[in-house]
């Protein structure tokens, strides 16, 4: 089978898997919604009617097929807490989350790559030991602790008191900067240790290969070695890392950051859906993000082929 077809087929199998698991957890084993939707003193016929609307009388596979149809036609129903259509909520919250998370995500990776490169180039020396030591320290601090610390340090009278404590009143670039800074710094700090350590290992692995030694012996300059040989050949693991951390950082990161700072994005939406048990929102979020992640994986496979023609 050609590479592209094989990857898409593999992706489809994964999509079936993730939707099946989210269906089993959220819908099949999920709590009975009948009495949430029905008023007091309902008659047996009314209960029967609601159960039929919810599809509770249908067999497992039929309901799974319905769930898949709902996901792929984006017919996700309305939130139980606000009554708003889930698609409308997503349209409103997604841009906020992207605006909030993208700067920290990019900076965390760029800084990680630069620190990893610095450490790798001075492997075993003082500067490498310092960077590696700081990475382990960074990895050992909880995300929640970093957020609380930065909030106290930057946004309260107990610290520098420079930024708003929480919220998201963004109207222009200036207010954007004001509200995005503390969350961005939190995200950078929580990912930097892991990123640096990972990129350092990748660059060290790549620079210790035979062809680098040969190139050096032939008198290639440091810059050529770095850009042409080390960085270019490290692209596959770097891209993997970058792409695979998107769902982790965007979903898990925004869940914590937005619920902590009260920012109205997808993360806050998820948090509220978790606390209130809002099934339509939760099952849409779990299903859609899992499908999106599989799509990212397929995309990554195509990137591999772009940077390394041997793959396939």
């Amino acid at each position: 089978m050609p590479y592209a077809l094989r990857k898409v087929f593999h992706g489809l199998l994964l999509i079936l898997g993730v939707t099946l698991i989210s269906f089993i957890l959220m819908v099949w084993f999920g709590p009975d919604q009948t009495y949430t939707l029905i008023g007091k003193n309902a008659t047996a016929e009314q209960i029967e009617e609601v159960r039929r609307q919810l599809g509770y009388d249908q067999p497992f596979w039929q309901r799974y097929a319905n769930y898949l149809t709902e996901l792929f036609t984006l017919n996700l129903g309305a939130s139980q807490s606000s009554g708003e259509q889930v698609t409308a909520i997503l349209k409103r919250t997604l841009p906020v989350t992207l605006a909030l998370m993208i700067p920290g995500f990019l900076l965390g990776n760029l800084l990680g790559i630069s620190l990893g490169l610095t450490a790798a180039r001075h492997k075993g020396r003082r500067i490498d030991q310092l960077i590696s030591g700081l990475s382990v320290t960074g990895m050992s601090i909880s995300f929640l602790v970093i957020i609380i610390f930065l909030q106290v340090f930057l946004s309260t009278p107990y610290g520098l008191n420079l930024f708003p404590v929480r919220g998201w009143q963004v109207t222009d670039p200036a207010s954007y900067l004001k509200y995005v800074t503390v969350p961005t710094l939190s995200l950078i700090f929580v990912t930097l240790g892991y990123n640096t350590r990972f990129y350092r290992a990748v660059f060290i692995e790549e620079s210790s290969k035979d062809h680098i030694r040969t190139a050096r012996a032939y008198g290639a300059s440091r810059t050529v070695l770095l850009w042409k040989h080390v960085l270019k050949n490290s692209m596959v693991p770097v891209i993997t890392r970058f792409m695979f951390s998107i769902p982790l950082v965007v979903i898990s990161g925004s869940l914590l950051i937005e619920s902590y700072f009260g920012i109205p994005g997808v993360g806050k939406l998820t948090f509220d859906a978790i606390t209130s048990g809002d099934q339509p929102v939760l099952k849409a979020l779990v299903g859609l993000t899992a499908v999106a992640f599989v799509a990212i994986q397929i995309l990554t496979d195509f990137f591999y082929k772009l940077v390394d023609p041997r793959i396939g």
Binding site: S142, V145, I204, G277
Partner: protein, 281 residues
Amino acid sequence: MSSSRQLWTQLRGDKAGMTGLIIVLFFLLLAVGVWAGVLGQDWSVANGGRWESPGAEFWFGTNLLGQDVFQRSIFSVRTAFEIGIVVAVLSTVVGAILGALAGWYSNTWVDGIVLWLMGVLDSIPFYLFVAAVAYALQGKGWAMQLAMIATFWTTTGRLVRAEVMKIKSREFILSARAIGLPDPIILTRHVLPNTTHILLVQTSIAFVAAIKTEVILSFLGLGVHDGVSWGLMLAESTQEVLAGHFANFLAASLMLFTLVIGFNLLTDALQDAFDPKQAAL
């Protein structure tokens, strides 16, 4: 590296690793103290004033309800170890079994199913998966642990699978097959023991992941419900710090940090001891 004595010799020469080991053992001692009913027993007694400052009676001060923050942070060591041990051991066991099966029967339908399962579990964002499991189990106390085990085993599984595929073609395994030993015996007696180095490191990594995850989940309301944990203390502290009360925050975050860095240093040292080539890089 086969014998534990060699491992110990390696480890003893590693200053950072020994520091890590001592930290971990110290916390284990605290946990045993709590289990034995000697330490941290008054964690839920509210006999102080609201937010008292640290002093002779309350070493780390008190919280909103007048409970002793020191007692609470010590009792939380036990919570951390209970979650860490259960998750680390079970996720490693599941990873070892499924990884070994996939590696032994590589390129068959068994391998296909295990690989597919790993791919699927890795594709669902973790906190959403926990939320889904908690939702399905409706407030069962072990939803958090179950979700962690169900997702943490995949890394161990992949590593064990790769290692078993390597071991499978080695001569002693070929001989074992040649003399007609049944597969289950070869797997449990000859293959799995040769993956101990992976399992040990992975257990340590899973322990750290579990206690760090507990903090986030407890803050989100998906974690510990009964008792006290560093996550619950930090969740409490999110309101207090804005009013200038830092006892909960400092106690929980410093304890958590120390235990996690202890484990991280120990993990690094174990990895280096098992793989001197990698360490030299």
